[in-house]
Point group: C2
């Protein structure tokens, strides 16, 4: 029943595991690209596979508004609709309601809101969120929660977290167990270790197929994020997947994997790619910078993605300057390939017991900075 999670090797708190699902398997630590409206912007599913992507995230909020969860259901679910053969995790919709919708009204029942697309009113309750994700045929369903804002007082964080815990229980009750499908709870509690502990305890009582760490990467800074992550991970069971939501930069993924997190998602590689920001083995490169305009070299000489194998910095600079679609496509491709390569390197380092050395090497490479510009 549910999804499978088999640890294959570990190194300190970090582990490599195989997740088995109704829609195929994936290895963790895993990075999930964000396919908001049932498409990772500009990428075909074939291109995603060629990047090494094994599991995707899609946004329930966007899909419930357009094309509508019922329509997605009639087309066989989000994976079938978009021609992605692998597993798909959907978020609950709660985060986007709070960040995108208008006239939100949060109550014990759920969130009443107005669509940012056509102004129609909707109600997103825990039961409704689970039902929508069922319609989407999501491999992994996420519980509806409130992402506690930062900063929040201990009282505010406690009130918000306890509401999320009551919602989590209602989500689990509504959820239909199916072989190869799963539902994850989400730990909240802001930056308060005791509240994080209380939240974990509540979720363990309900019993989920995996546990996500929410409410981070909200402006608290890298050190506090790492502390709260490590603290929360230490309270979670080892035999279930741990998903650090909305994180982050490659170096954050390395650190979180070292702390024992298994799954990640972030818009950074895709959104940045469309804006000309590239993640490389030597840190971030902004291809818009005029230093690249005559540079015949590849973006990252250590990378074997189609973008680095086929195109010069000068051409990529030209495409982004000319606002050509292909610029966004090629840089998204590179960034996702880079992220997947980092994840594969993490798995390999854990497998060979070299995670500590890998962390040090990775951080040093990232700080090197870009190669010198060509001479005039």
């Amino acid at each position: 029943m549910s999804i499978g999670f088999k640890i294959e090797s570990s190194d300190g708190a970090a582990r490599v595991a195989k997740v088995t699902t109704h829609h195929g398997n994936y290895m963790t630590p895993a990075f999930m690209p964000v396919g908001t409206a049932a498409t990772v912007k500009g990428m075909t599913p074939e291109a995603l596979s060629r990047c090494g992507v094994q599991v995707l995230l899609a946004n329930t909020y966007h899909l419930m508004l357009r094309p509508g969860a019922g329509r997605v259901a009639r087309l066989g679910g989000v994976g079938k609709m978009m021609s992605w053969p692998g597993p798909v995790l959907t978020d609950s919709g709660g985060y986007q309601v709070m960040s995108l919708a208008k006239l939100r009204n949060l109550s014990e029942e759920g969130v009443d809101f107005q669509s940012h697309i056509d102004g129609d009113r909707y109600m997103l309750s825990p039961e409704k969120s689970v039902s929508l994700q069922h319609d989407l045929n999501s491999t992994i369903t996420m519980v509806l929660d409130e992402c506690t804002p930062f900063p929040a007082s201990e009282n505010e964080a406690a009130t918000s977290m306890r509401l999320s815990m009551r919602w989590a229980k209602r989500c689990k009750q509504k959820y239909s167990t199916r072989p190869g499908y799963g539902i994850f709870g989400i730990v909240q509690g802001g930056m308060y270790p005791d509240l994080r502990a209380e939240s974990v305890e509540s979720l363990l009582e309900v019993n989920f197929d995996g546990y996500a760490i929410g409410g981070l990467a909200v402006g608290e800074g890298a050190q506090l994020m790492r502390d709260i992550t490590a603290h929360t991970v230490s309270l979670l069971p080892t035999h279930k997947p741990r998903y650090l939501m909305g994180v982050g930069r490659p170096v954050d993924l390395v650190e979180a994997a070292a702390a024992g997190c298994d799954m990640f998602d972030c818009v950074l590689p895709t959104r940045s790619g469309r804006n000309g920001q590239c993640f490389t083995s030597r840190g971030v490169v902004n291809i818009r910078n005029s230093r690249h305009k005559d540079d015949p070299r590849s973006l990252d000489e250590t990378c074997s993605c189609p973008t680095c194998l086929g195109y010069s910095r000068a051409y990529l600079h030209h495409l982004i300057q000319a606002k050509e679609m292909l610029g966004g496509v090629l840089l998204t491709w590179h960034n996702l390939f880079h992220y997947q390569t980092v994840m594969a390197d993490i798995r390999s380092a854990i497998g060979s017991g070299q995670m500590q050395k890998f962390r040090e090497d990775f951080a040093r490479c990232q700080l090197q900075g870009d190669i010198d510009p060509p001479e005039d």
Copy 2:
């Protein structure tokens, strides 16, 4: 020397030929997708190859302004820069100067204009156009001409055509002959058969590697376009390629190939694709139409492109409605694949002496109209 043109079979005026160039070969009748700024919008060169594309067109006007012809030259030419291994034909820049640039001033010398990007002033003369195309390392250079507007009086058309003929001669004088490269003259003369004949005579005196028919598809209507095309073709030598510029719809290509034209270019499949207009075996389908929103069927059941094999009309409708990049990518892919399939079918019909039957069957299929919408 120059490019090779070997006729392999013919059927009436129509012929199948192999063009050999420094950058590889292509079979005619051939359709060249438009890669304005050294990119066919949203398509990788690999995707173009998978559509069956063998030769591309790029726009000298756009490339001279951005990234600049000198920069393209330092990157090895337009093909090398964009990672396209095959032949590239460049236009002269004249057409875009007249349609896009500001403050144009046409004289015997050439066209003085202001860039639509940054307002800088440029001079495009016949010599400058050839020199720019040399910098771009264009496989086939086009002469600078003035595209005679429609309608034009016989006097206006004659004056304009004779200027173009003087320019054509200057272009040929400036052009450096290189093995596997070629330069094409362009027949003008508006809708006046005698002026077309005079124009052909002028160009034949100069002697070009191929002859283009310009000044059509400017609003004169399908019948007049066909008449002027057939008339002009009848005056051109059989042993050199004939290129009908800026044409057109699939049915126009079939008719023009039947009349003896060998090469074509048009923005229609790419620009329309981004707007949701799809060319199919049963005519044009507008995927924005709400009749497609629940349709699980492919765009064209007779098409084997990745879009038709992998995605439903409902999903394509969703992508275009949600303004997702992938919508433009997938529909461009389909349209280019469809165009290349039509060209392959034309070559096959000519090869088997079935061109007349093919024209009739093709026209009948195009008039069928789209399949019925699914029942509610």
